[in-house]
Symmetry: C2
Subunit: 230 residues, 2 copies
């Protein structure tokens, strides 16, 4: 069953992979490290082939990126199945970001989030789905307060977590790309206290703003603002 050969991090020469897969992996690494502006020739050199062969296998740089995207998505799906769901609960992101084994995947995902694109959207959507599930479990177990709009809250939490992490790394990029996990760990260290405070104690001492908002949307003066395209 588990005949998968997980792509090793750098070091061991993956001679057993097909050339196409080697190129793809090299592209994932470079794209993750340096962004999608990396030239085909650099990727080709990493994979030990010529630039033309990259085109021959993928047709276009854009298609190469698409191949990387779908491959990363599969890897994430696989990683989730493997050992995440059971143990990490809501801290998927933290584990995913700091576990060494996922470093290349995580770097690539970060770059995608930074640049936008289908993979980024898909990744966020999946995380929102998962968050909805985790939060529902928490609510059912009585450890998480229910929300008036569970999905909106889940999305808000995911966007905030991912966004703050992404921003943190963008503002203070690692010299050595292998330090990415360390950087994320530092970020989590920095935000854990305020996040926990906020999760358990809130920020506001009065319900005034929330109640005002609720009564405001309760009687929505919808004429004032048009809502287009839902």
């Amino acid at each position: 069953m588990l005949t998968m050969r997980s792509t090793r991090s750098r070091g061991a020469e993956p001679e057993d992979l097909t050339t196409r897969a080697r190129i793809r992996d090299a592209a994932v690494l470079r794209f993750g490290r340096e962004g999608f502006g990396t030239s085909l020739r650099v990727i080709a050199a990493d994979a030990g082939v010529s630039a033309g062969l990259v085109i021959h296998h993928f047709g276009t740089k854009e298609k190469l990126r698409q191949a990387c995207d779908t491959h990363i998505l599969e890897e994430i799906k696989h990683a989730k199945y493997e050992n995440l769901v059971e143990s990490t609960g809501g801290r998927f992101l933290e584990y995913f970001a700091t576990a060494e084994q996922f470093a290349p995947i995580f770097a690539y995902v970060l770059r995608s989030l930074q640049h936008g694109g289908p993979l980024a959207r898909s990744f966020v959507d999946h995380m929102v789905d998962d968050a909805v599930e985790y939060m529902a479990d928490g609510v059912a177990a009585g450890v998480i307060v229910p929300s008036r709009d569970e999905r909106a809250r889940a999305r808000y939490l995911v966007l905030s977590s991912l966004g703050s992490g992404l921003l943190s790394i963008t503002l203070d990029p690692p010299e050595d790309p292998s330090d990415l996990a360390a950087l994320m760990r530092r970020h989590f260290d920095a935000i854990t206290l305020p996040a926990l405070e906020m999760y358990t104690e809130g920020v506001l001492t009065t319900r005034r703003m929330l109640d005002e908002y609720l009564s405001y949307v309760g009687d929505p003066p919808a004429a004032r603002e048009e809502r287009t395209a839902g």
Copy 2:
């Protein structure tokens, strides 16, 4: 009246539109709209000049971007003094993001946050400073619960707000760059409810996680870990 000998003095830039200023403004617009990959020729065309003149005035594309950065910083400072501090309180970001007049500045700042660089860091630092101030006022007024590490909380809030907004726009970029304000408004609409809920009611029903963390790291007032503020 002709222009006198062009003063190269920094700091006090003339308000009339010299060609140099026109180029700079065109660059700000294009950089904000399309990112810093925009070619010099496009910017030059926008400003109605040749590409060589851009180099003649700024020496280098990188220096042009630096000129844009400092100009934007000045504009922000100016805007803050003008009419923000008095009225908007903690909702500076929301006002700044949705006010039409600041659209180009905001777009440029977003691009900077996306790409990193000194302007982005400076902007975030300033926002953290402001947030510390606002939160302190709120705590003094009794409407905001105090934190065990006010600066860490302020930074966390700023990173989350900016990061979620940036991510939201990156995932769903506007076709028409002038719709950026509308997009941000939609984002704020989407997060207002969960944010208010969280600010007033928290997320966790039990203090367990917070207390465990506190007993684990001990007392975390700022003295324990000195952060290089530079």
